[in-house]
Assembly symmetry: C2
Homo-oligomer: 207 residues x 2
Amino acid sequence: MSREGVVAVALRVMREEGLERVTMRRLAAELDTGPASLYVYVRNTAELHGAMLDELVAELDQPAVQQGEDWREQLIRLLCSCTELLFAYPSLARSVLVLRPSGPHYLRLIDTILGLLLAGDVPIRQAAWGVDMLLQQAISMAAEQGSRDEAADAEGEERALAVAVIEAPSGTYPNIAHVRDEILSGDHEQRMRWCFATIIDGLCATR
Amino acid sequence: MSREGVVAVALRVMREEGLERVTMRRLAAELDTGPASLYVYVRNTAELHGAMLDELVAELDQPAVQQGEDWREQLIRLLCSCTELLFAYPSLARSVLVLRPSGPHYLRLIDTILGLLLAGDVPIRQAAWGVDMLLQQAISMAAEQGSRDEAADAEGEERALAVAVIEAPSGTYPNIAHVRDEILSGDHEQRMRWCFATIIDGLCATR
DNA sequence: CGATCGTAGCGAACATGTTCGTTACTGGCT
DNA sequence: AGCCAGTAACGAACATGTTCGCTACGATCG
């Protein structure tokens, strides 16, 4: 019984039954103990989720920076694979969104992204500040897109914005009405790549 | 007793004692009833928070798009005021981060931002997709920065990343070590403006 | 060798979000 | 008038996260 053990059980339960079933009591039962015992290894649920993410990120293969290849394409590929990794567990993405993960594998990810940006001659400060934006964007996209096809009970919740946008009267919200067709266009693959590319463009732009 | 009434009480309690105190039971007690009664007007806590945000956004003054003025500066100012509005209630920002707000005032905000982007000749699709990024960024910055000086109990939680970054051994994470000084530099005012400017640059970039 | 202290471990408890089943009431339909 | 359907309202209940206080034990120090 250790922190690693708790996280491992948590991951297993999540893979089998979803994050919703990963409760302290459930984990405790799985480990033949009471809920309070888990707090020795994990400060709270948020930290547990962070640890779970870190373990997931570990499975991500991060190819070493290839000097010859196009760094932009490499970076976008990496970010896309992050997002897709979280697509399978949208509720974990939502949970991690309000976190600032700091596990070793997550740090490795940050380091790799930084390396790619620096390889692209992005100025140091812009690179440093940009990593956060890129990762936040990746997690955020997983949280949004993934929850779309998740549990049927939440279908009307986040889609409320989409509905509101579609029904927005052109008198009150002229601009929304004007872009109505564009705002919901594109599949997530396209939007994902576009979002990352946009931020990277912004980071490269010499203002 | 109505939805507006519930939201009003919730806002008052939040202003006086913080969002943590805004519990269903507390609101119910404030309205001399039981917790279950609130669910007639509000689907769940998330929706309540969304409604609270919408009310806050209503207080934001959104100047009509001034054709003559610099649209970029106007847009950045607007986004900054959004972020600062949420600075006072970081936990609300965190809660809203996983939401897709869709209240009337929030739609108005979206419409205004869209107007500014279109006024800047940003292509329609880029504008439509960009609004989300900008608002997500605004809320996210409030959630992160604001929680820094919030309740003292959470001090070590989100700062864990900062600590990890500072202590990152340069052997394992060379790039992090390389940008260490830059990654924590700048006050939130600077970073805020920089983030928005970066995204806008990306939206303008003709790729 | 003995005392002390920090920590694992745990049972019970508390506050919270949410749901269920039930009651009262009000509007409209026959 | 009589009936019905939808809704406000609510009390009780359940599952959850988290904390408190207690026990046991092992290491560390006098």
